[in-house]
């Protein structure tokens, strides 16, 4: 894509920018090509070549390269400024760039080693390795309206019958139970629960009787007592003996 002739006047060579993994990579390439000592980079020349190389970059890629270009130009300017007489305090503006280049070169070497490793490892197939599924669009459907309606019908048929909860009315007869309890107390003052429930009570009989008992206790007709946990319920006429 971006092929730029560099330094066409002196040594014409072509740089393919997409072959570089970043500005540091390009910079190292320029330095290598011209057999320059990395510790003594002719910044002015390199900066110009660098700018030439990135001239035709796309906007997105350009940002990283432009940042480096700006740094190179800054270093170039710093080197043009007169140095203080006292050389002790002077720091070569290129020092930081050299450090980064060396550090990057090290990483590049490790990366080359990793490329080799990956290539070797790629020749060893492990068990259970699943190839990535190819992305294929679903095949186009060929059907008639009849096919579609038939399919819809099949789906509807296949649907399970909705399970409705059926509520069976089983009215509680609290009134009847109340009458029965009152009748029992007509002749006695104390009755136990089993007598009230009668023989073989249904669930609604029990519930009706319980509600009736509670209702009668509430209006003060009865007194309910249970002397120990799970003990039998003692049911008295409330007025007969309130202390029981």
């Amino acid at each position: 894509m971006t092929t730029v002739p560099i330094g066409a006047s002196e040594s014409p060579f072509v740089v393919r920018l997409d072959a570089f993994s970043g500005p540091l990579d390009l910079l190292l390439h320029l330095i290598r090509e011209q057999e320059i000592d990395i510790a003594d980079i002719p910044i002015a020349t390199i900066a110009d070549q660098f700018l030439e190389a990135i001239n035709e970059l796309g906007l997105n890629e350009a940002a990283d390269y432009l940042e480096m270009a700006a740094q190179l130009l800054r270093i170039k300017i710093q080197l043009l400024l007169p140095r203080p007489f006292d050389e002790e305090g002077w720091e070569d503006p290129r020092a930081e760039l050299v450090r980064r280049l060396l550090e990057y070169e090290q990483i590049r070497e490790v990366a080359s080693w990793l490329v080799e490793q990956v290539s070797q490892q790629g020749d060893r197939f492990p068990r259970g390795w699943l190839p990535e599924l190819p992305e294929r669009p679903p095949r186009p459907l060929h059907l008639t309206v009849e096919d579609l309606l038939l399919a819809v019908e099949q789906v509807i048929e296949a649907m399970p019958e909705p399970v409705l909860h059926r509520v069976v009315p089983r009215p509680l007869d609290v009134e009847g139970a109340t009458t029965r309890i009152r009748a029992l107390f007509a002749s006695r003052d104390e009755v136990n629960l089993w007598e009230i429930l009668g023989d073989g009570p249904t669930i609604s009989d029990i519930l009706s009787s319980l509600l009736a008992l509670l209702e009668l206790a509430k209006i003060g007709f009865l007194h309910l007592a249970q002397h120990q946990p799970f003990g039998s319920l003692v049911i008295n006429r409330a007025t007969a003996d309130p202390t029981a």
């Binding site: 990579d25 003594d40 990283d64 990483i107 590049r108 490790v110 790629g122 068990r127």
Partner: protein
């Protein structure tokens, strides 16, 4: 082969990823560590001596049974197995930085590589080759990244220690030389 070795062979055959000694110990709780190592070695030698098409590899802090490289071409050519996608040069550069500097923040990686690595980190993270290992203390508490065991599998390393030592590389990281050594610009 002793029964323990055959048990390990079965497990290693079935596993999709390298099994560690701890995994193998779960398989045979009564076996000691030394017995497990001995069984693994017996299996390795069995594959070496018996002229098998597979071998036992020390990989990602564990062990894995893989096909021998010399059959790779034939298997791939017959399209029986698709070779995994190789990571790009830029991806391996990023992984190199993370492997040596972990835990490392995005800003540090970008400083070393000189390029924006946001998209690259996301892709590596999605593929499980790197993971978030924490947050830095500094401003904004940036995420810190580290490599996973999948990275070791990808690059065929038995452990993190098998990465080349930086001082053994051709280019040793030298500090900037004395000012005097820089020539005139």
């Amino acid at each position: 082969m002793q029964p323990l070795t055959r048990l390990l062979e079965a497990a290693l055959f079935a596993a999709a990823h390298p099994l560690t000694l701890a995994d193998l110990a779960r398989l045979a709780p009564e076996a000691s560590r030394a017995e497990l190592v001995q069984a693994v070695n017996e299996l390795r030698e069995h594959y070496e001596q018996g002229e098998h098409g597979i071998e036992l590899l020390s990989l990602a802090d564990g062990f894995q049974v893989v096909t021998r490289p010399r059959f790779a071409e034939a298997i791939a050519e017959a399209q029986l197995v698709q070779r995994p996608r190789k990571p790009s040069r830029a991806a391996l550069e990023t992984l190199a930085v993370i492997a040596y500097r972990q835990p490392v923040s995005r800003a540090e990686i970008e400083e070393i590589r000189g390029v924006n690595v946001e998209g690259m980190l996301r892709s590596l993270h999605e593929r499980g080759i790197i993971e978030v290992v924490g947050r830095a203390e500094g401003l904004g508490r940036p995420l810190l990244y580290g490599t996973t065991s999948l990275f070791l599998e990808l690059v065929g390393l038995g452990s993190q220690d098998e990465l080349p030592r930086l001082e053994e590389l051709e280019v040793a990281l030298r500090p900037p030389t004395e000012q005097g050594e820089f020539g005139e610009p």
